[in-house]
């Protein structure tokens, strides 16, 4: 039985049934890439995996323990990167990343972890710059640096490569490879093909809506 798996998941958003009877499973070091046309439910599945969006039916378990039982524990082992970058224009880059890292309370060494994370995405020189001066690409890098500053086994990345240049995408691929080597897992929804090895693909078009009513 793999660590993180979902059985016959049904997702309803607002009025619309997004997908029905969807299964997936993921082991340590594994990677799952979600593909499919717009509106096929890639983002919805990621939000469902993160616990933001409760599933209408089906089971979502970690070490076969239902995630909904203990949302805080699930939050502690997971990072979610969505479409918004959550960068406060008034706070500096370092303060932004430090705030999110301190929420996970990894003890005193957050400051060095923050600098290492900024270094990994090449924005260490922007540490003291307030958020409002950053470009979209830089904001996305701050958002990605946040998940490095406080390590967590599961990464849920929703189209992380938008607004990123070639060089930063390379850096992202490197960090993902290192993360997986360390036993971490990653679920990515993306349109561009990323340089990942041995990853599973889940095509959400296959689970198109079978209108229930």
């Amino acid at each position: 039985m793999s660590i993180f798996c979902g059985q016959n998941l049904i997702c309803v958003r607002g009025e619309r049934t997004v997908f029905t009877d969807l299964d997936f499973n993921l082991d340590a070091g594994g990677a799952l890439v979600l593909i499919g046309p717009n509106g096929s439910g890639k983002s919805s599945l990621l939000r469902l995996m993160s616990g933001l969006l409760p599933q209408a039916a089906g089971s979502l378990s970690w070490n076969n323990e239902e995630i909904r039982e203990d949302p805080e524990a699930h939050a502690d082992r997971m990072h979610y990167v969505g479409h918004h970058d959550a960068v406060k224009p008034v706070l500096s880059v370092a303060e932004n990343v430090a705030f999110w890292a301190s929420l996970r309370g990894r003890g005193k060494k957050t400051q060095s972890a923050v600098m290492a994370a900024l270094e990994a995405f090449g924005i260490a020189h922007l540490a003291e710059v307030p958020g409002r001066f950053l470009s979209a690409g830089q904001k996305r890098r701050v958002n990605l640096a946040r998940i490095l500053a406080a390590p967590a086994p599961l990464w849920l990345l929703d189209e992380p490569t938008t607004a990123l240049d070639k060089q930063t995408i390379g850096a992202l691929e490197a960090t993902i490879a290192a993360h997986r080597a360390g036993g971490g897992m990653v679920v990515i929804s993306t349109h561009s093909d990323m340089g990942l090895e041995s990853f599973k693909v889940l095509d959400l078009a296959g689970f198109a809506i079978r209108q229930a009513s």
Partner: protein, 240 residues
Amino acid sequence: MLHRFANPTRFLRIASVVQPWMAWATVLLGGAGLYLGLFNSPADYQQGNSVRIMYVHVPAAWMAMFCYSSMAIAAAVGLIWKHPLADVAAKATAPIGACFTFLALFTGSLWGKPMWGTWWVWDARLTSMLVLLFLYLGYIALVNAFDDPTRGTRASSILVLVGFINVPIIKFSVDWWNTLHQPASVIKMGGPSIDASMLWPLLLMAVAFTTYYLWVLLIRIRTEIIANKIRIARLKQVHG
């Protein structure tokens, strides 16, 4: 958990059976209540004929509170057991409850004019009824303030539960505030004790109002279900 998909056919079947009964009950009981109230019951020895307004004012006030309580119960069922029809019932009840509250206020002030000489007196019950009207208007505003109707019903379900907890607190504070600033003369509304000949029309009208509420409620719930189906059909057209 799966009944979210359940097509509410069972409900529609029951509704189509119950609705005509409610309609007839409203007409018959209402007619009887009006006849007794207007023609066949004595005037009050103190207030004269103006007491006849009680046969409309008191049932409306009861219904105002009854509708708000049923909204709170429906919202609780909707939030806890995620039953889609519960939210719809709460949303359908709101306008009816608001109408009853407005009627209670309107007839209350018309009844107060001959007794107290002014159209509005900050009497504890009328004031609490006024606050209840704002709670209804707040609910109706919130439920329609979202593009996605399920968001609207869920947000307003939380609001009506918070409001329901506050109703006794507001009633207590308004009573306390009212006794503090004692208005000049307050005649107890509804007379000392209602004798049988007045009690019958009052009860008949109260039951008629209740069946009226259920009648319109069923109509509005069916409308909401059909509107829901229309939205899903439109979404299917868009998303194919």
